[in-house]
């Protein structure tokens, strides 16, 4: 038996990780294959057109891809697949976006037939200007992103050779006093900078902010940072002040509350997408300065209007950061075409193995509903069923029991439904943070939690993203947004920052047995299961909960 890789004709690659050559093979296929699942024995990668084009964009050619497959494959590689790889990769770069000294941005075709095909498509109508000759057509600069997106959909991805504007210079350096960039963070920054624009995928707690800071230092220009909410904006500011030469005065916050524009400006997605009388009123921010770098935090949450704005920012360097590039709306492609291809990706378990994120144990606790609840559930309207099952009162006792088991450890209880959370907070005697809690109150509770003053917090989905709770080591989720894989991963992320004591974090999901709650839980767990987190299933009865 030779070779760690099995190439299936449906374009999946199976990598047996106990094999001697597994590591070498993983490194070799990472540039062009998407990691789909990483459970304990065999990792599944998939060859997609997007992945192959990204590889082309990163300078790999079809021959290298084919060689890698042939070198590591255990069995003969299906011939049709090799042909397909070559043909797919050959489509990339037949069209190029170039800067013409006379006409400005121009779509140049190496193959006139491709240009003719593309120009005939309805989708490119309005994006292309005057045809200069058989191989060149003028592109309106503001349509650069949109056009790239359309060309990707048409299967003729353009190579963007038009370059980036340098932006307004602004000195930024990292101040590595007492800390240093981790190797994978450095690789991520290098990968991004080398490629120009793109997305970096790192697990929660693996220090994405540092990657952002590193990129800013590399760029040393004015920077626009787009984040999900105000709390997150403040954390970015604090982190930047701590990690870089930037001072508070150089960093502005552009949010509902404040409208500051400074060399480094942190804006929320929400304020940018606010409309008044049908008009986006804060778009001027995008042109307020000659930004040299635009940074998107939690890029998987990028709202649709920002997609369109991003299309206008194509001439600027863009960096997207995320832990989980799975979008339930299936718009991963748009993220790639507008921000740029994936420049760096590290499986969660890899980072865990290196000790940079805490090892976590995922446990699903199944609760058998009492007969009265089951009867109520059985006869409920379909749209009510999830809520009924998710908020089953029996969960309170389970949570109580789990909290007691982890007495003294910083514990978060996370849920979706406010009634349930109020009840729970009362039941276990903890403070509650919801969307109604003021920013000041939130900060106070977070600080208290951080300092160890309080060890239990009940939070609603507002805390799903970007709250920095360094010492949370237990998370208990009682309900969520149906089957969101994204949310599940983000919630696990809350407890993955490495613990001082090096202890294992615990992630509990309390689920009502034989209900849609259980089905949704199964779907939610798919992403993490594919990342190699094996869920253990326990019965509530075994926890000593009657």
């Amino acid at each position: 038996m030779t070779g760690p890789l099995i190439v299936q004709s449906d374009k999946t690659l199976l990598l047996e990780i106990d094999h001697d050559q597994a590591d070498a093979c993983r490194r070799a296929i990472a540039p062009f294959a998407e990691l789909e699942r990483a459970p304990e024995h065999v990792h599944t990668y998939r060859l997609t057109p997007l992945g192959l084009w990204n590889a082309r964009a990163a300078g790999h050619d079809a021959e290298q891809v084919v060689d890698v497959l042939l070198e590591y494959s255990r069995y003969p590689v299906p011939h049709a697949l090799l042909v397909d790889v070559a043909e797919t990769m050959a489509r990339y770069g037949r069209l190029q976006l170039v800067q013409d000294p006379v006409h400005g941005l121009v779509l140049h075709a190496l193959d006139p037939a491709v240009l003719a095909e593309v120009m005939k498509s309805k989708r490119t109508a309005g994006l292309l200007g005057t045809r200069l000759d058989a191989t060149d057509v003028v592109v309106h600069p503001s349509e650069r992103g949109h056009l790239k997106q359309v060309l990707l959909k048409l299967g003729w991805p353009a190579e963007d050779l038009a370059g980036y504007v340098d932006g307004e210079a602004h000195p930024i350096t990292l101040e590595e006093d007492g800390w240093a960039m981790r190797p994978y963070q450095q690789q991520a920054v290098e990968g991004f900078w080398h490629g120009g624009s793109g997305v970096v995928v790192l697990p929660c707690g693996a220090g994405k902010t540092i990657v952002g800071a590193g990129a800013m230092a590399k760029s040393s220009t004015t920077t626009l940072i787009l984040v999900t909410n105000t709390v997150s904006a403040r954390q970015w500011r604090d982190e930047l002040v701590r990690r870089t030469s930037l001072t508070e005065d150089e960093i502005g916050e552009y949010s509902g509350a404040r409208k500051e524009i400074r060399p480094v400006t942190i804006a929320t997605y929400q304020v940018l997408t606010t409309k008044r009388k049908g008009v986006y009123t804060h778009l001027e921010l995008l042109d307020a300065r000659d930004w040299g770098l635009v940074l998107y935090d939690e890029v998987h949450l990028l709202p649709a209007p920002i997609f369109r704005m991003t299309a206008d920012l194509q001439a600027r360097r863009r960096l997207g950061l995320t832990a989980t590039l799975v979008r339930e709306d299936g718009r991963e492609d748009e993220v790639f075409s507008l921000i740029g291809p994936k420049r760096f990706d590290a499986p969660w378990k890899d980072i865990e193995a290196q000790g940079y994120i805490a090892p976590a144990e995922c446990i699903e606790v199944r609760l058998t509903l009492p007969d009265s609840d089951r009867m109520a559930y059985a006869t409920a309207e379909p749209e009510e069923k999830y809520r009924l099952a998710a908020t089953a009162s029996g969960k309170n006792r389970v949570v109580e029991r789990l909290v007691a088991q982890h007495e003294g450890e910083p514990t978060l209880v996370i849920g979706q439904y406010l009634d349930q959370l109020h009840e729970l907070a009362e039941h276990i005697g903890a403070d509650l943070i919801t969307g109604e809690t003021t920013v000041r109150e939130r900060q106070r509770l977070f600080d208290a939690f951080r300092s160890g003053e309080i060890t239990k917090l009940v939070v609603s989905k507002v805390a799903n993203f970007s709250i920095d709770l360094p010492e949370a080591s237990v998370a208990i989720q009682v309900s969520g947004s149906f089957g969101s894989r994204q949310e599940e991963a983000q919630r696990l992320g809350r407890i993955m920052r490495p613990k001082a004591s090096g202890r294992t974090a615990h992630f509990y999901t309390v689920v009502a047995r034989d209900t849609v709650d259980q089905d949704f839980a199964a779907h939610r767990q798919r992403f993490l299961a594919e990342q190699g987190y094996a869920y253990t299933i326990k019965d509530a009865e075994d926890l000593g909960v009657a």
């Binding site: 069995y75 003969p76 253990t536």
Partner: protein, 855 residues
């Protein structure tokens, strides 16, 4: 050019020299004759009585056509040259075709001799014998087999052999003559054929040149303004050559080369998939066999369902179905209505190992006359061709497969395109080049069945090819390889080598998936089949365990512990906790609901009463079973239960499903009246209808021409009358559908009398008359072909129907052209003006005679 064709007589070129040809055969060695019979199998069957009859058969047009269809382009060139240079030696033929000694041409001469398409004329004394060693008959004068010349081009090798040339030697206009240049241009244009040209108008330079050439005998006037270049002149111009160059086979060495391991692996994986699809199809059909359409074949709906079942497109589904049929694993049963069911062979086939199962399928595919790729297309009548349609057999299908695969066999490891294959066949068998679509279909099917891998012929496939008769042609390709004879064992072995190794490992993972890193052992395959869903197949198999898949295993009688033990025995390490939980959870839920059959129930508010009844031995025959304290189920019907309980001194009442009390009455029986919804239809006439219908069907069923008077002579008058009655009756109904609107009052009477008097011949037609437009057209076409007369009801410009006796001549483009024998005229009418058509009388030969007598 020392060896001129001086001895050629300018007399009719086809001289039947049967005696010398027969003599050649008679004098051939047994070995040679045996080889001839092997290469021209039609000569051997039925076995000829003697050499003379063999010679007659070998010179028959059909047999020669067949033989010509099998020869390559060089042999054809040799034969053309031999026709032109009648009686030339092999050396001379090589000169003519290749311009000098040429091995390939010598080989072609030998081939033609072996096929008895050429033969040495031993009668003609030979003083030119300048033998080359290349041919056994190197010095003999060679002639083409009698009759062969007629089958070749009218101008073989572009030479007008039928016209006499000028006296030898041919002298061309010398350069200093006026008009030499234009004359030369004319000759050059005709030199390599076609040798016929249109003379330019006299007076022009070219016209004068032609006149000059004609005067010299270098051109010969043909019909009209045509002129021909005599063969002798053309040969002189060509320098004695009949062909510019030896036909070379297209070079296939440029087509992509595949690694042997890839070819073997892809052939094996395609073959494995094919065998799996056949097995899955038959597993489904053994439980629910699909019905046979009345016209034979499988309904489109069934095919679509099959495609869904197999998760393939409909084209491939049709292929799988046809393959199962060709392999004898599927047949039509004799039930009514008929269905397609697996045959008993299926059970033995299933018991074989995979390579042997594959060999059975692949051999069946190579040999079958079925043409699955035509499924879904339309036949000449425009109807959709169904899978398993009996019409889908084509006797040439196995030959086509052998020819296509033969091309691939000559370029081992290479994957030529269908275009290239057609090109190669254009050289190998120029007289029978298959169409591109057929070749494409064969290549697609070969890839599906696994005879090809990555587009190249696999070793396993090569071993199954039919034994090639005679020496493999294609020496010029330089990659000649003797095609292995048909050897199923070698094929199975080669196939097995391409399969990924059999493994007994199932890597179970925490995300509820499992991976078999190779081809599963039969036990493992069975487990996967029962308990998991396959997500990806190939060199390895990825499966996922879901509550549904585990439930399926439990449904088949496995317990949770059995399943977990089995999984653990295949897994490396323990079963992941998540999977174990899944299995246990599925087992916990399995069988929580119980279903059973009962005919009626008893319910009461008093549990004690029901308990007493359930225990009572006197009520045992009711089959009472206590389901709950207040409910009993009974095997007996409500009626019986109520009666029995009443007899028992209890006072039960029956109830409706919604709880209403039902007063049971004793059953009153009624027969449903049989009869038609159309009470006005007289019963008697309907009975006659069916009987007549059957007779008509029988009559039309008989093959042969429509007249067949002898077979009908015994028909009694009574039958004739009833037939007439029936046909007119049938006609009225057919014409009218449910209501008589189309056939006007004028027709009915004439109709009845017409058919009645014309007697027996009328009955031999499929339908004596029709107003259905499609049938009418068919009837008109049929009549045109048979030159029979028909009664045609024409709708005139006023909308008034007019009935005329016509003899259809042609039906096309929506128009009928017909002769009117009565008015002795021809007419053309638009088809839409034809209201009804009806057979009138005997076919026209007699009818015409009659007409004449009438006049």
């Amino acid at each position: 050019m020392a060896d001129r064709p001086g001895a050629r007589e300018r007399v009719p070129r086809i001289v039947v020299r049967m005696s010398t040809f027969t003599g050649f055969l008679r004098s051939s060695s047994d070995e040679r004759l045996g080889a001839l019979l092997a290469r021209r199998p039609d000569l051997a069957s039925p076995s000829p009585g003697n050499v003379t009859s063999l010679a007659v058969r070998a010179t028959g047009r059909a047999s020669l056509e067949r033989a010509l269809a099998s020869v390559d382009a060089v042999v054809l060139q040799v034969l053309e040259a031999a026709v032109v240079l009648d009686g030339a030696t092999s050396t001379r033929l090589q000169d003519a075709v290749a311009g000098g000694p040429h091995d390939e041409v010598a080989r072609a001469v030998d081939d033609a001799l072996a096929l008895a398409l050429l033969y040495p004329d031993t009668d003609a004394s030979d003083d030119h014998a300048a033998g080359t060693a290349a041919s056994a008959a190197g010095g003999a004068r060679l002639r083409v087999a009698p009759g062969l010349g007629d089958l070749l081009d009218a101008h073989p090798a572009g030479l007008a052999v039928e016209v006499a040339g000028p006296p030898e030697p041919v002298t061309l206009p010398s350069d200093d003559e006026p008009l030499a240049a234009p004359a030369r241009a004319v000759l050059d244009a005709l030199m390599w054929g076609p040798p016929v040209g249109l003379a330019p108008a006299p007076g022009s330079t070219a016209g004068d040149a032609v006149a000059l050439l004609v005067a010299r005998g270098l051109l010969v006037r043909g019909s009209g303004r045509h002129v021909l270049l005599p063969a002798s002149v053309a040969l002189a111009l060509r320098g004695g050559r009949t062909h510019r160059e030896v036909a070379a086979p297209p070079d296939l060495t440029g087509s992509p080369l595949r690694a042997p391991a890839t070819v073997a692996a892809e052939s094996a994986s395609a073959g494995e998939r094919c065998a799996r699809l056949v097995a899955r199809l038959l597993r489904a059909w053994e439980h629910e066999p699909p019905g046979v359409l009345r016209a034979g074949g499988l309904a489109v709906r069934e095919l679509r369902r099959t495609a869904q079942l197999l998760e393939v497109d409909e084209g491939e589904a049709a292929f799988v179905v046809e393959l199962a049929f060709a392999a004898g694993l599927l047949a039509q049963d004799d039930d009514e209505p008929a269905t397609f069911v697996p045959t008993v062979e299926l059970d033995s086939w299933r018991g074989l190992d995979l390579p042997t199962r594959w060999v059975a399928l692949a051999s069946a595919w190579l040999a079958t006359t079925r043409t699955p790729w035509l499924v879904g297309s339309r036949d000449e009548r425009g109807s959709l061709i169904a899978a398993l349609d009996p019409e889908l057999s084509r006797p040439w299908a196995p030959r086509l497969r052998a020819a296509v695969l033969g091309v691939l066999a000559r370029v081992p490891g290479r994957a030529p395109s269908a275009h290239e294959v057609v090109g190669a066949l254009g050289w190998a068998t120029p007289r029978s080049v298959p169409p591109l679509t057929a070749v494409e279909s064969v290549l697609t099917e070969a890839a599906r069945v696994g005879v090809l891998g990555a587009g190249a012929l696999s070793e396993a496939g090569r071993a199954l090819l039919p034994r090639a008769p005679g020496p493999a042609t294609g020496a010029a390709t330089g990659t000649e390889r003797t095609i292995a004879a048909h050897d199923p064992d070698a094929a199975a072995e080669a196939f097995a080598q391409g399969l990924s190794p059999e493994v007994g490992d199932l890597l179970l993972q925490g995300d509820l998936t499992g991976i078999v890193p190779g081809r599963p052992s039969p036990e493992l395959e069975a487990l996967i089949d029962r308990a998991a869903t396959v997500e990806s197949r190939g060199g390895a198999i990825t499966v996922r365990f879901t509550p549904d898949s585990v439930r399926r295993a439990l449904d088949e009688g496995l317990t949770a512990d059995d399943l977990l033990d089995t999984l653990a025995s295949f897994g490396r390490g323990p079963v992941p906790q998540g999977l174990e939980y899944l299995v246990r959870d599925a087992a916990r839920r399995h069988g929580r609901l119980r279903a059973g059959a009962a005919s009626s129930y008893l319910r009461a508010d008093d549990p004690a009463l029901l308990a007493g009844l359930a225990e009572d031995p006197r009520l045992a025959e009711l089959g009472l079973l206590q389901l709950a304290p207040t409910v009993l189920a009974a095997q007996a019907s409500t009626h019986e239960v109520v009666e029995a309980l009443r007899a028992h001194g209890l006072a039960p009442v029956a109830e409706t499903p919604d709880g209403q009390v039902l007063h049971l009455e004793r059953t009153v029986r009624r027969a449903r009246r049989r009869g038609s919804r159309r009470a006005f239809a007289p019963v008697a006439s309907r009975q006659v209808d069916t009987a007549a219908l059957v007779r008509r069907l029988r009559a039309s069923d008989e093959p042969g021409d429509a007249r067949r008077p002898a077979s009908r002579s015994g028909t009694s008058d009574e039958q004739v009358t009833s037939d007439a009655q029936v046909t007119s009756d049938a006609h009225t109904r057919a014409a009218a559908g449910d209501d008589a609107t189309l056939v006007g009052p004028t027709s009915s009477a004439a109709d009845a009398t017409g058919t009645a008097t014309t007697g027996s011949s009328a009955r031999s037609w499929a339908g004596s008359g029709t107003a259905d437009p499609v049938d009418a057209l068919a009837l008109l076409r049929e009549a045109a072909a048979e030159r029979a007369n028909v009664w045609v009801e024409l709708v005139g410009p006023t909308g008034r129907p007019e009935r005329r006796l016509l003899r259809p001549l042609r039906v096309e483009g929506g128009r009928l052209r017909a002769a009117d024998p009565v008015r002795e005229s021809e007419l053309t009418v638009a088809v839409h003006r034809i209201g009804a058509v009806e057979r009138a009388d005997e076919p026209v030969d007699q009818a015409a005679d009659q007409d004449q007598e009438d006049m």
